[in-house]
Symmetry: C2
Subunit: 365 residues, 2 copies
Amino acid sequence: MPHEQSAAPDDSALTPLRRRIDDIDGQLLELISERARLAQEVGRVKHARGEPVYRPEREAQVLARLAQINAGPLPAQSIRAVWLELMSACRALEAPLSVAYLGPEGTFSEAAALAQFGSQIETQPCASIDEVFRSVEAGGAGFGVVPVENSTEGSVNRTLDLLMGSSLSICAELALPIEHCLLTQTGTLDGVTEVAAHPQALAQCQAWLSAHAPQVARVAAASNGAAAQAAAKTPTLAAIAGLGAAARYGLKPVAQAIQDDPHNRTRFQVIGRVQTQPSGADHTSLILSVPNRPGAVYDMLAPLAEHGVSMTRFESRPARTGQWEYYFYIDVAGHQLEPRIAAALEALRTRTAFFKLLGSYPVKA
Amino acid sequence: MPHEQSAAPDDSALTPLRRRIDDIDGQLLELISERARLAQEVGRVKHARGEPVYRPEREAQVLARLAQINAGPLPAQSIRAVWLELMSACRALEAPLSVAYLGPEGTFSEAAALAQFGSQIETQPCASIDEVFRSVEAGGAGFGVVPVENSTEGSVNRTLDLLMGSSLSICAELALPIEHCLLTQTGTLDGVTEVAAHPQALAQCQAWLSAHAPQVARVAAASNGAAAQAAAKTPTLAAIAGLGAAARYGLKPVAQAIQDDPHNRTRFQVIGRVQTQPSGADHTSLILSVPNRPGAVYDMLAPLAEHGVSMTRFESRPARTGQWEYYFYIDVAGHQLEPRIAAALEALRTRTAFFKLLGSYPVKA
């Protein structure tokens, strides 16, 4: 007999349980097939009316309802993962959805695309954020996934610039967690005198560094990747970066998840030509600008306060044109088709020198 | 009213269909919860007997059975994707499975881990293949996913060496497609005189290059990544590489999927301490060596022929020890617990100077 092989286990206790699971799987398959046929009918109706197959707000509602009626034992995140694949499969029956994103180097962008659309899509990795926009604008891809806010990289400015000039709408948003690690050549801090990272990463790991490596001097680097590259050449240098950088530069983690905020995340937005309907839990993004005079920003925001609309994000960027001082990227809670939001937006439009609505989209409840 | 916004669509045709889908979703949720409770019972039985929760052969059987009884409209691959998440969710209820793999740089390894285990796992990216083995051997991860055969990279020799010295078994196998692209600075072949790539990649794209770029000289590079890096500095140089390299080095694709074999793939194996039971469609991997004398290899293989066992892979590697000339990595169709295979293996063992069984594992039917 071959060695290293345990005998066949006694399955008398497991066999009846497995039969019942097989039986349930058969029933599940029938129901899922029935659901797919209904989705095909929905697709035919939409097709006849020239409407898009993918409705992010409808999928958000389905997931929210399931989270509400779920009595366990599976946690909400597992139910979500199963239905994501189920909806992805039903969608793909109609017409395979093509999704563009920033290519494999930004593994996070691909992960975001799969987390939003499930696995039954045609992925279209692009060499740049510009290409993601171009591909969706030209119809090569139905949707694009772009990073919009990243705790350590500056590159999302490119996304903001492209949103400004594009005719595409934001139709969904999601966030993925980001983890910082302390990396050295040996996997220990022995002999290490300095730690390098992007200033934002250093700031995000301040508490951990003060507690665990108070004697190590902090050095700013152009990026966490550059810091890891330098650490790979310098035994006395540690770097803060992701495990990807450890793999790439042959470094070892001294500690993982050292960022002070365990909920450190990168936010992505989905761009496309779909105009969503209200899902019940939506945000609306817009870009504004006002003439450069005292009190202008305060005045600009008055309509939001008057209509009881809350801002969830307010970011200013210097304008390149010189025509205005700043552009303001603003997210508000609510959908542009809700009367209260529509009224506030209309008032904003009349008060601003520049006004662009980027879209309303469902957010996770 | 805000601009760029279509009116709310008339949903009178869609609403009844969506109600039926919601109704089915409710039934699905009940069945899935019942399935999860049964999986918990299975887990309790296994736990009492000290058996592992993850049985790759059982999951392979569940998927094979579903593929068989599935009458559509969803294709087998969609059913597979849904059940992968369902089984992943049920498994995670018991004890979250921790899976080690070669870190984010090899995006493919992470994709392979998710394709094998579904999303409800604790992922453990490692800096090297050695670390993947160490982590599983030390119990830090329950399973590891390692590349074993890669059409363009030589690094899998490391996996073969580590398998030789490890006490872990191969308990599953899967393959992911690999796509070669022709990349240049401009996205065209204008002014391009040379194309660089790893020799294997050049060979794999021979037909395409002869048909579409016969005037371009072919140049061997250390790796496709190195070729892309060189092309980023040289306007007259094209590179063959993946889209990841395009993103990393700012190159543009002239053409995608130019490999002559559209089924170009990387094969991964899952390593762990689980000894699988026969699933009905299994392979068995082993390492052999024979003394260096004429006819030794032929003699070595005789037991396989005598017992009617077919080889699915035969690979030789020079031994480093000098004690034997070569090691042979052999895969055969069948499970080591099938009497015919067991008899052949026993006969092989008596004829070889070195014999190591790496494991039996389910393969996709």
